[in-house]
Amino acid sequence: MNFRLLQTGRLPARENMAIDEAVLNNIADGKSPPTIRFYGWQPSAISIGYFQCMEEEVDLSACAKLGVDYVRRITGGGAVFHNEELTYSVHIPVSANFAPNGILESYKFICGGIINGLKNFGITAQFVPLNDIIVHINNMPKKISGNAQTRKRGIILQHGTILLKVDVDKMFSLLKVPSEKLKGKLIEDVKQRVTGLSDALNREVTFEEAEQVFIKGFLEAFTGAQFSKGVLTQEEKSQAEKLAAEKYGTDEWNKKR
């Protein structure tokens, strides 16, 4: 299968989510090819899962104070602080029979790209159902990647994060926790259980370096696939602009639950 490879760099949250949806729509309409995209977030942002309640999960005044964006995803899952990370999205038509049809199996298949990328960095990683990838550091399992999938209009869309560096203190200044009393313990717990590529390797890994290594990782995992560098079509760009302005940038969508 031929994939279009998009490298869209760091963008605001509303634009990132709008591009993922515009690409999905254009593939469903037969106007765009299967696509793999790598991107980042500028400014940093919190994304919440489709079923989450924005004001319940996110301290919006802290976001405003720190200049952090927020957005609801079309995929389920939890709140993510997108800071120093590489993000990917993969769009595959179900009818192509390229990815397994089962949801769990397709998560595992697509996450194979991340596991291969980590292997190319010399890190052994493991897929933990449903949507996490963990690495072992000093015999401690630590999450390095979280992933989320939806299926719409016959297209599998999976996007996920590959953490480069983790700032747990900043993350918890932006996310609300069920109990303020337990916040300190929770922060310590997350520090123990989450890591980034730079921390795991004990050296600085840039967005650009990670992007190159994970492009190769996905190519190795997607047996028989070719990646051809491409750009968004004019139609995708205009749809994405509209979605960013009229959906992902609005309270109507972001605070709809």
Partner: protein, 90 residues
């Protein structure tokens, strides 16, 4: 607004937001970090449970019927966890 939280064993964190009138549900949000395919069915499920009695058997039957008529793949939550968390929010 009443609220209940439940960490589903080997699953996700479920949050229920509930308002009641008498013994019936008048507002329901099934929230959390779970997955459902298609996602929109959760909103339809919430709507279908409005005016339902706050009774475990009635809610379970209604939800099972809904999921039969509207096939939905749930990950991280299931019918018993949603029903029991609704009842815990009372």
């Amino acid at each position: 607004m009443r609220k209940a939280l439940y960490k589903v064993p080997n699953g996700k964190l479920l949050k229920i937001f509930l308002e009641t009138t008498g013994e019936k549900i008048s507002y329901l949000r099934i929230s959390g970090d779970f997955f459902a395919h298609p996602e929109e069915n959760i909103e339809k499920l919430e709507a279908s449970l409005i005016n339902e009695k706050l009774d475990a058997n009635a809610l379970t039957a209604k939800m099972e019927l809904f999921l039969k008529e509207n096939p939905t793949i749930l990950f991280g939550v299931d019918t018993p966890s949603i029903v029991s968390t609704i009842l815990n929010a009372i």
